[in-house]
């Protein structure tokens, strides 16, 4: 048997999943492939001053400048594969070498994610006593992170660089767990300048670092000791964030292009929901609105002609208004999001519970923003799933919430791969990940992890999956109601995601209650 601290299984897991990723090189890829090819072309062929103005393609640069610099670096390597992909006018250019380069770049940048996963596994609390490798929390976490279904299909089939970004996030979390707060702050600042969607979790960082790093002592009851404020630490944090942002945005501020860059980063013209509704609170709101409208028409309380033409189908983003319930504006979503994360932030201010409390708060910020945000994409659920994996291997309650959120969240990603050739891959991979997560967590926590109601819900998810993927395409309704599977998936998954959100909050508040009683 291997020695207790031998980590030889980690490279095997990492290598195995990397080789699997290479098998998907010729699989379907979405328009995101062209998006990134276009950005390679823009950053390589045009001067910096044109990067955020270039719009000959519909896929304009809408990530922060550090990501643009990353694309420039990738473009340097790309010219050895096929220099034609770097020409801005070559829209939708997909040669075999372009495909190979782009796919391999995602596999390569995932190395950061692999390193971050390893750091996280190092921070996991291992129970005492000799244990077989397969039942160690660090091993289970490694599999849950490295072989995560959502990340595999979004990054390596649909095509994105989420693994690279999550690498920064997980590494930052790992640094906080190791009490290296400045490094964690640096990594997060870099991440913010790579993809601004992580602003969702910035409040958690802000409150935690202020409370636990800038104030060095607590009173005996756990409340903050105002006298222990260290202005130097705040200055250090501030300068780290400022310098990273300066490095990233500096050239554009110097050229007076900041408003243009910001308008690209925050395009609020898009609708409340994506064409396929992410399984959040607004999906339930939409369905409620539609049902009330239909009911109103049936009961003759509303005129059908008065209702706005709401379109639920369509491939590109659409605006639509609600018929019965009040319409939702971006500011409403912002208020709702802030209200949903405020209790979590207040909780870690009043009673910081170390880095794990911070992680829980980060999770709630991510999930709160997913639930109430404007124009949320279903891929954003990964922002909650990956950090929750860490908590799941340490606590039975979190493991239960993890199973519900992950299975639902992963299933909600199914519509991303709608081609028939990819159907077996998504089904087999999903089954693999689901079977592993259920059995490994059950073994880890020595007993059943799910409540009966939760098990019933997840079985129902299987029924919905069969209905949408197998039964519906063969049924007579597929022409009359083509959006029905998407609607069903979205609504059913919303229930699961909302439930997970509420349970996570309940566990946070319950921990606070327990603390108060001590």
């Amino acid at each position: 048997m291997a020695a207790a601290d031998s980590w030889s299984w980690f490279p095997a897991l990492a290598l195995g999943v990397s080789l699997l990723k290479c098998l998907f090189i010729n699989a379907y890829h979405s328009t995101d492939f062209e998006v990134h090819r276009n950005w390679l072309a823009i950053t390589h062929s045009l001067p910096v001053s044109r990067w955020y103005h270039e719009n000959s393609s519909a896929w304009t640069l809408d990530y922060p400048p550090l990501f643009a610099w990353l694309e420039l670096g990738l473009a340097r390597a790309a010219q050895h594969f096929d220099s034609n992909m770097l020409r801005v006018e070559n829209l939708n250019y997909v040669s075999q070498n372009t495909l190979l380069f782009q796919r391999l770049s995602v596999v390569f940048t995932d190395l950061l994610f692999i390193y971050a996963a390893r750091e996280c596994c190092r921070c996991v609390q291992e129970p005492k006593g000799p244990r077989d490798v397969l039942s160690r929390p660090s091993f289970v976490l490694a599999v849950l992170l490295l072989w995560n279904f959502g990340l595999l299909i979004v990054d390596h089939i649909h095509f994105q660089y989420n693994g690279f970004m999550f690498g920064f996030l997980l590494l930052s979390v790992a640094k906080h767990l190791q009490h290296k707060h400045l490094q964690g702050a640096l990594l997060f600042s870099v991440l913010l300048n790579l993809k601004h969607i992580y602003l969702y979790v910035a409040p958690a960082y802000g409150v935690y670092l202020l409370r636990s790093y800038c104030f060095t002592q607590d009173h005996s009851g756990g409340s903050v000791s105002w006298r222990s404020f260290r202005p130097l630490r705040l200055l250090a944090l501030g300068s780290i964030v400022a310098s990273v942002c300066a490095l990233s945005f500096g050239p554009f501020i110097a050229m007076g292009q900041l408003p243009q860059v910001l308008s690209r980063l925050f395009p609020f013209k898009r609708g409340l929901c994506h064409a396929y509704w992410a399984p959040n609170a607004w999906a339930l709101y939409n369905v409620l609105d539609k049902s009330l409208a239909l009911l109103g028409v049936r009961l003759k309380l509303l005129e059908e002609a008065e209702l706005p033409r709401a379109s639920m189908t369509g491939g590109l983003v659409q605006e639509f208004q609600h018929s019965v319930l009040p319409s939702v504006t971006p500011s409403v979503t912002l208020v709702c999001t802030l209200l949903s994360i405020l209790p979590a932030l207040a909780s870690i201010w009043r009673r910081p519970r170390g880095a794990r409390g911070f992680l829980r708060c980060l999770l709630l910020c991510a999930l709160g923003s997913f639930m109430f945000g404007w124009h949320v994409h279903e891929k954003a659920v990964l922002l909650a799933i990956l950090p929750l994996s860490f908590l799941a291997v340490e606590s039975r309650e979190d493991a239960g919430i993890f199973l519900v959120l992950t299975t639902t969240g992963h299933y909600s990603l199914f519509p991303l791969l709608f081609t028939p050739a990819e159907l077996p891959i998504k089904v087999f991979l999903m089954l693999m990940f689901t079977i592993y997560s259920f059995t490994a967590l059950r073994k880890l926590h020595s007993g059943p992890v799910l409540r009966p109601l939760e098990s019933a819900y997840l079985l129902g998810l299987g029924v919905v999956a069969l209905a949408c993927e197998a039964a519906f395409p063969l049924s007579p309704w597929r022409h009359k109601l083509p959006f029905l599977p998407l609607l069903a998936t979205s609504v059913y998954c919303s229930v699961g995601v909302c439930y997970s959100f509420l349970r996570l909050y309940a566990s946070l508040l319950r921990q606070e209650e327990k603390h108060k009683q001590l």
Partner: protein
């Protein structure tokens, strides 16, 4: 972790890897006029669907043996026939006599790849799982590791899911034969191996061990062994007879099939024969 879940995970990983390889190109893709093994299999579906069994192995106006003529034993032909029925129900153009030559399309590729996967799922993979669980020694962890390696063997995956062949079927049947013999079910084992032999004549490479084992076992048992031998002989004869039934009606049919599956007239080193047997050796 439960052996059951570990086995499921291994099987699912094996299936993902197989399908991942399927996404790539197949033998002879986009290379008229002859294309490759993929077109050969499609052509056999065309021939078996549209023509009566007595004409499958003969050179007629409807069946040009120079264009991928059937040169595997009858069970391959029956398998092609079943696939052809499914193909015809999805899109008749795939198996239209003469007109479907060189037919290539993404949906057709999906269908053909799916037939390989289904055949594997029904025959090869269950045999491998049962073999690793019941006929290998060691702890359950060792058995699962064996299963893992077995299912991820690249040679078979690349040839069946890349190049395009159905070696999983014949190897699967052979493995069922080994499994049955290992569990002491000699007659069933013989049936399974006969099916393998009637699927691909290259299983003859494995025939001697089966023959010697069964003969040796029979000799050792004395009088009971004689009964065993007779039982095995009769099951072999019945299996062969059932497989060759359509070809036993008239004169010369069976001989023609034998001539097609053992093309000594073509010379021992004809390229296709060589590559097929090499690939088979690799998998065996």
């Amino acid at each position: 972790m439960h052996t059951c879940s570990l086995v499921s995970i291994c099987v699912l990983l094996g299936l993902v890897v197989r399908w991942g390889v399927s996404l790539n190109s197949y033998s002879g893709a986009g290379k008229p006029p002859m294309f490759g093994d993929y077109e050969a299999q499609r052509h056999w579906q065309e021939v078996t669907y549209n023509l009566p069994p007595q004409e499958w192995y003969f050179n007629t106006t409807e069946n040009d043996l120079n264009y991928w003529g059937l040169d595997y034993p009858p069970l391959t032909a029956y398998h092609s026939l079943i696939c052809a029925y499914v193909a015809n129900s999805i899109n008749p153009e795939w198996v239209e006599l003469h007109k479907s030559r060189g037919y290539e399309s993404p949906m057709h590729k999906l269908f053909m790849r799916a037939t390989v996967l289904v055949a594997d799922l029904m025959i090869f993979i269950p045999a491998v799982v049962l073999y690793c669980l019941y006929l290998t020694d060691g702890s359950s962890k060792k058995k699962v590791s064996t299963l893992f390696c077995f299912l991820l063997y690249p040679g078979l995956i690349l040839i069946d899911y890349g190049h395009f062949q159905y070696n999983g079927v014949s190897l699967g049947f052979t493995l069922w034969g080994v499994l049955a013999l290992g569990l002491g079910w000699d007659a069933l084992g013989s049936v399974a191996f006969c099916l393998a032999l009637n699927y691909k004549q290259m299983e003859l490479y494995h025939a001697l061990p089966f023959f010697c084992y069964l003969l040796g076992k029979s000799v050792k048992l004395g009088l009971m062994g004689l009964f065993l031998l007779m039982r095995i002989a009769s099951t072999v004869l019945v299996t062969f007879a059932l497989c060759w039934l359509p070809f036993l009606s008239g004169s010369g049919y069976a001989m023609q099939v034998v001539r097609r599956i053992f093309p000594v007239a073509r010379g021992l080193f004809e390229v296709q024969c060589l590559t097929s047997s090499l690939s088979f050796l690799w998998c065996a």
